[in-house]
């Protein structure tokens, strides 16, 4: 993984506060977990029915009945619980999920999220993503700042089908930390080695740049 991505993941890990119940989406978000202090009290939820996800297991030690929503073989911790899918989403919709970290195809300047469908190309269904995006108390996105063709993922308006409207609180990319505020996207931090101008130039949506020094990560 690139140094920039590693920085992004390390920075995102600081978003997790002691005592939180957190759901990490497949891909980059899952890797955040390795960056947490080992003694930090945090409860990882997976929508297929577990609170308290423990370390991923190699195939030869895996429990065939214990996976996370991405299909990875995980393990229980002392204090874990298993439950059915209705209870699992009750936890999400009922307000007990403090934070979710998700991937994105596009995030709009008003916090709309598109991450589940590319018409004609990628139509697998939304899974649990809609409820995570719409109902977690805090929704943060982990994504490369631009796609493979160099197009900004932070856009004025989503062109793809929405996962949820006005749901994103904060975006972590390999270039910046951006908050979605009522006034629009605000540039909060810039990656070490980049300038504010680099980020603004790489972003489709107009960024609000606060006065004074922008912190680096």
């Amino acid at each position: 993984m690139s140094n920039a991505k590693i920085r992004m993941i390390r920075r995102a890990a600081r978003e997790i506060e002691p005592g939180m119940v957190v759901n990490l989406g497949i891909g980059l978000p899952t890797q955040v977990i390795d960056q947490l202090p080992p003694d930090m009290p945090v409860c990882l939820h997976s929508e297929n029915g577990i609170s308290g996800i423990g370390p991923t297991q190699p195939y030869d030690k895996a429990d065939r009945n214990l996976i996370d929503a991405g299909g990875a073989y995980v393990s229980p911790l002392p204090g874990s619980a298993y439950f059915d899918s209705a209870t699992s989403f009750a936890l999400v919709r009922g307000g007990r999920l403090d934070l979710t970290m998700l991937g994105a195809f596009e995030v709009s300047m008003t916090g709309d999220l598109a991450n589940w469908k590319i018409p004609g190309l990628f139509t697998p269904g939304a899974g649990g993503g809609i409820e995570l995006a719409q109902k977690a108390r805090k929704v943060v996105i982990l994504t490369t700042h631009q796609d493979r063709k160099g197009r900004s993922k932070i856009v004025r308006q989503c062109s793809l089908p929405l996962t949820a409207k006005a749901c994103v609180d904060r975006v972590f990319t390999d270039m910046a930390v951006i908050d979605i505020s009522p006034e629009g996207p605000v540039l909060r931090e810039v990656r070490e080695g980049l300038s504010v101008e680099d980020v603004v130039a790489a972003t489709d949506a107009p960024l609000i740049v606060p006065k004074g020094e922008i912190p680096r990560f």
Binding site: P18, C43, G79, A81, A90, R93
Partner: protein, 230 residues
Amino acid sequence: MRFQDKTTTIEAAIAEIPNGASVMLGGFGVPGTPFCLIDELVWQGQTGLTIIKNDANETGMGVDHLLKNGQVARLITTHIGLNARAIEMMNAGDLKVEFCAQGILAERIRTAGAGLHGFLTDIAIDTELAEGKHRVELDGRISMVETALKADFALLHAEGADPFGNLVYAATARNFNPLMAMAATQVIAETETLLPIGAIDPNHVHTPGPFVDKVVTLNELTKEYAVVQR
């Protein structure tokens, strides 16, 4: 990684409840009723409460202490036949009582816990409980809307709990407890035994820890928890 420790004292847990709060209480008759948490609420004396509980216990027990002490403005329940004081207060206009069919009360609480707005049912459609209910016609069938019922606090009784708030209930003491655990902003569980973290098999947890905010360990059970000899 480890889990948050949610243990606290009964005084501190109940002190969070302000006057005028809505409070769900677990229990169907004696089993599952959080008598010690109720006693502390009586002691602290918060008033103007909306109480949500399957029943009003019996005279001299549980909810009845709150009624006698004048702390309850409103009771949402299914059956108060074993509490003469509750019926008297209701008839005298000193207590506002809202009756639900029992499974509908359970489901309204669960619906709030599941983050949904309400559900559609034909239960009680030809009875006086149907009065004033919003109706919807779908596929030629008439349903009534039952709204989600949430509360500021839920007070639960568990047989066992770990410090993170994973709960297990004993036999028919389960009843409304796991539903209320999902449906309140602050969930306070009293437990007969505080178990070390990891002592509950993850397959046997009845209420997962993320639903619970505070765990209070009982030193001893008051006589209200005992077998009632009528």
